[in-house]
Amino acid sequence: MQSANVLLKKIVRSSVLPFAGQHGMKKDLLPLSRTLSLSLGLKQDNSCSPSEKLDLDAWKKVMKSGLQEEVSKTAPEHKELSALAAARELLEMWRLAGRLVPENISEEQLKTFMECPSKSAKKKYLKYLHLKEIHKKNDKRKMDEKRERRLEAQEQASKTDETKRNSFVCLWTSGMDKTYSWRVAQSMVFGQPLVFDMSYEKDMSIREVANTVRQIVLSEGCNRRSMDPFHIHFCNFKDDSLYHKEFLKHYREAWGKLLITVTDQCYTDVFPKDKLIYLTADSPKVMKTFDHDKIYIIGSMVDRSIKTGVSLARAKRLGLETAALPLEKYLLWSSGAKNLTLDQMMHILLTLKDTGDWKKALEFVPKRKYCSFVSKPVDELKKTLNLINTLKLGKRQEEVRKLFAKNYSKKLRQK
């Protein structure tokens, strides 16, 4: 409670808020600041007399004058701070200094912060919390605005007082849910299995695990809504693992009712080995067609640091066939890693399953990662890409043109 008071005082004292009141800032304002800004407005009027002589050190007096009362108030607090409280103080000071630091931080987050091994890790963590906080605030603001608009609309509607009649009872969502569930239930009996390999927990940080689970939740959602869903298997799934905890956070009580198969067995124990194909970007083999009789395995792993060969190693150990998406063959790759997110994989596989059309399926690869679809042989296009890149980098145009001419004439000679 005491620290909350101190916080409040600091907020009130910081120069930003009073002006925020005047200029209609969107932040939630403390009720205090409005009155404060009024009184300050008066003060400002007084100080602005033109005859005033400029006293350059006047600010020091102002700063020191406010101190006497301040000191007497904070005096009882001046005992040894616990490590947590000290960290909280430090964060508060960083926030005042304009660093990217969240306004509110929970005890748990504070502990995570203190356990960060390096200064840059601390900085990154704080920035992450800060951005998260901003997103949350913006979402809340938008929700509020929406609610207000809805209320307004309702008011207007009640004025006209006209109730619309419809032959369908408004049960769209639950009706759709039932259809989806029906389809997924069908797929659990007759559908093609798709395996998520849940054995990568040790290769990931906590945040990466959280991201992974989020991506799987998205994948599951899009599978459920598709015309012909996969029968999803979570293999190597350990109860009380980090994965499990994260899933519970997302699904809550729905976790037990999901129409998927969860097992702690390995896929090699569940399915015949010769039917399994492990999908990994590191695979030397490129997938040509989608095979409806095979069982594809996706590694449930987000690796921000690009650990090459982790999932390939797993497939090699079990002696499984591997495959990579034919990204190079169909797309003129420009930048970014070839590993895709799990939900992108799911979209691609579903599209392949339905249509077998690579072009349509690879639409789900993020646009920033490639320049265009390939219509000519790739190596020819690569030259164009190099040309584009050199142009982008601002090389002298002359040089580029010469280079191009050289390549071109060589090709002619070869023919």
């Binding site: 004292r13 910081s14 120069s15 930003v16 009073p18 002006f19 925020a20 200029h23 800032m25 300050l40 003060k43 400002q44 100080s47 602005c48 033109p50 005033e52 400029l54 006293d55 350059l56 050190d57 006047a58 600010w59 020091k60 102002v62 700063m63 020191k64 406010g66 101190l67 301040e70 000191v71 904070t74 607090e77 001046h78 000290a86 103080e89 430090l90 000071m93 960083w94 005042l96 200094a97 304009g98 660093r99 200064k119 290769d203 030397p284 090459t308 060969g309 982790v310 390939l312 190693a313 797993r314 090699k316 150990r317």
Partner: protein
């Protein structure tokens, strides 16, 4: 961006400026930033502070810090002290940015001892940055308090902070002409720190070292700039530089670590497979020691216009002199007759050298390292690869340094002019490029200041210091 005014302004003038500014909410911040950038007179900043203080009754922390930055930039010591008093009474603790500014500002003034107390204060809430230490150490040594400076230096090393080259140079600059065996020992200690961490001083730092040596009273040291001959002999003092051979213990240690960290890593299957590695090990055991181990695929790409097997063939012929035992590492796809890999040429090569073909998806570099290390100290290896990714797999810096040292002495690279008809090789260095001493001589490699130096390159210029 706005241009700060040249003279202090009245409150109303500030108000007018503020009104005309696009986003008045951050007017003060932006203004202070541009004041720091333009190095405006502090009177202007003060007038803005006064205006803010009068209209708000308070000044926000970030504005005070920005004002502080301006004062530090201009060395306004009394202002810095005033700001410190104000901040200290206003806020229970300060954050690292403000502390750094205070320490930097005060260490350059006659109030430098206060910077030391501030450093103590910082220690209570966090580990001070290396620049904090740098300021304090420089201040102490500027005032000839070398003991204090060295205490701080050892303290920062104990905290795993890496000292800047500036700090190290300052020690040499400020100890010039000073007497004392203890001091001399400390400075030699710094030179050995450079040696252990394979740091090369730049030209001005090198000059400081030279001048310090020459200034030691009664030391009779003389320094010369020189280039070391390829044989590893110093042209000035005819001293033979040490070679980059590792000791038996270091050698075994490095080999163990390569197997553990590079080949196995987190999962043996990532780079090879246990069966394959075992097969390779027995292969090496049956045939070692080799004299030269060659990365076949890497070598085969030297000249892009030639067939790959031809390149490899040239390289093998070039290296197969004096009955040297060669091992070529390759992948299985080389055995399939193709336009780049012709069977008859492959057959002929296999008469001249031992070949090991790894799986197509295995990494042959790791095998290269293993075979070379297993064959003994005389064995060299050939590749254009700088092996940086393998070095990065080693988990501690000590082993990484060992690896670099070994690499310098054992890697045969191609001569840069591969455009010529014949493939040529640069022999591996037969001397080690680190700071070294024999007691009455010191040899210190240095780099030009603006010379871009990659981690795998070593400087060719040396400072030779000898005692007459």
């Amino acid at each position: 961006n706005i241009q700060p005014p040249e003279k202090p302004l009245q409150a109303e003038e500030w108000n007018r400026l503020r009104e005309s500014f696009l986003s008045p909410r951050i007017f003060e911040e932006v203004m202070f930033n541009s004041m720091v950038r333009c190095n405006s007179p502090i009177d202007v900043a003060k007038s803005l502070l006064t205006h803010v203080a009068k209209s708000n009754g308070d000044i926000a922390y970030n504005l005070l810090v920005k004002y502080l930055a301006l004062c530090v930039q201009q060395g306004q010591t009394s202002e810095i002290c005033d700001v410190y008093d104000i901040m200290k009474t206003r806020f229970k603790i300060l954050e690292s940015g403000a502390y750094s500014l205070f320490i930097r500002g005060l260490s350059n003034s006659d109030q430098w001892r206060m910077a030391l107390t501030l450093l103590e204060e910082v220690k209570k809430i966090m580990i001070p940055s290396r620049t904090n230490y740098e300021s304090c150490i420089k201040a102490a040594s500027r005032h000839q308090e070398m003991n204090l400076a060295f205490d701080l230096y050892h303290e920062m090393l104990a905290k795993d902070l890496v000292p800047t080259l500036d700090v190290l140079q300052a020690f040499f600059d400020f100890s010039r002409g000073m007497k004392g065996a203890e001091l001399q020992k400390e400075l030699f200690g710094i030179l050995l720190y450079l040696r252990e961490n394979q740091i090369y001083p730049h030209r001005t730092f090198m000059r400081s070292i030279k001048l310090w040596f020459e200034s030691i009273p009664g030391g009779n040291w003389r320094g010369h700039l020189t280039n070391i001959k390829d044989s590893g002999q110093c042209p000035v003092c005819n001293h033979q530089l040490e070679d980059s051979d590792l000791t038996e213990e270091e050698y075994n240690n490095l080999r163990e670590r390569i197997i553990r960290d590079v080949i196995h890593g987190t999962d043996t299957f990532r780079k090879t497979s246990p069966q394959e590695f075992e097969a390779f090990q027995t292969f090496v055991e049956n045939r070692f020691p080799f004299d030269i181990v060659i990365d076949g695929l890497n070598v085969s790409h030297i000249k892009p216009r030639k067939m790959q097997c031809e390149n490899l063939f040239d390289a093998i012929n070039c290296l197969a002199k004096d009955n040297a035992r060669l091992l070529v590492l390759g992948r299985k796809h080389m055995l399939i007759n193709s336009s780049n890999w012709q069977r008859d040429i492959m057959k002929e090569m296999q008469n001249k050298a031992d070949f090991f073909f790894a799986e197509n998806i295995s990494e042959d570099d790791a095998f290269l390292l293993y075979a070379t290390l297993r064959s003994g100290k005389h064995c060299k290896f050939v590749t254009r690869d700088f092996l940086r990714d393998h070095k990065a797999c080693l988990s501690d810096s000590l082993t990484r340094h060992l690896f670099r040292k070994w690499q310098r002495g054992h890697q045969i690279a191609f001569s840069p002019s591969v455009e010529g008809k014949h493939i040529k090789f640069l022999p591996a260095f037969c001397y080690d490029c680190v700071v070294q001493t024999t007691g009455d001589t010191w040899h210190i490699p240095y780099k030009e200041i603006f010379e871009k130096k990659y981690s795998y390159e070593v400087p060719r210029k040396w400072l030779c210091i000898q005692q007459k």
